[in-house]
Amino acid sequence: MKNTIKVERAKKNWTQADLAKNIGISRQGLNSIETGKFIPSTLLALRMAKVFNTTVEVLFQLDDEEELSND
């Protein structure tokens, strides 16, 4: 799973601590998500999308090998 959290954070000029506080998780937890070590729940992904005024699809994308083939 790829994500654009870092890019969206940079647009808002937020630190990891700022975003973590806004979505109610620890900074370390956010770091795990941002670096792709942990995949967040739907609730957390939606909260993140809301604070960035964007959609979950913009924040998170499937890797090529994770995409279901149409065969």
């Binding site: 109610g24 998780i25 370390q28 937890g29 795990s32 070590k37 942990f38 967040p40 729940s41």
Partner: protein, 144 residues
């Protein structure tokens, strides 16, 4: 604007309940430690009647049960990454403890277990040690 104020208030409330739950679990861990060690020393070095011994032995068990209850409450207000770390720590700790007990049981079948190293008191210590090993491994895995 109203939505954001509500979210902010909810976040502050969550933060406060997290702090309270964490503090309570730490306090009850200390109370458990403060009852377990004196109970161990008392039962080891003094002789009491059977009912009094049972009561003394029950005190740290009750404080431990309360501590676990508070710890579970603290887990429920953790964020999902911390919950995953705790879950994996408990799974690793439980698995290692189960492996040790099975190994000791099998060794005892051929009379080569050593109670001086693997008595009940040691097993409690190993259980905590394995949990902390699990916690360390899981924290490293998630970078949390």
């Amino acid at each position: 604007m109203f939505t954001y104020l509500c979210i902010d208030k909810t976040m502050r409330d969550m933060e406060q309940s997290k702090k309270t739950a964490n503090l309570q679990s730490v306090v009850f861990a200390l109370i458990y430690g403060a009852t377990y060690l004196p109970a161990t020393l008392l039962l080891k070095h003094r002789t009491f009647s059977l009912p009094v011994s049972v009561i003394i032995a029950m005190v740290p068990i009750i404080t431990f049960a309360i501590f676990i209850f508070k710890l579970i409450k603290a887990f429920s207000v953790m964020d999902e990454v911390q919950q995953r770390v705790q879950l994996e720590a408990v799974v690793i700790g439980f698995s290692l403890t189960a492996m040790l007990i099975m190994f000791l049981f099998l060794l005892s079948l051929c009379n080569i277990s050593n109670p001086a190293w693997f008595g009940y008191a040691h097993l409690v210590g190993y259980c905590w040690l394995f949990y902390f090993i699990g916690w360390f491994v899981s924290r490293k895995k998630y970078g949390a």
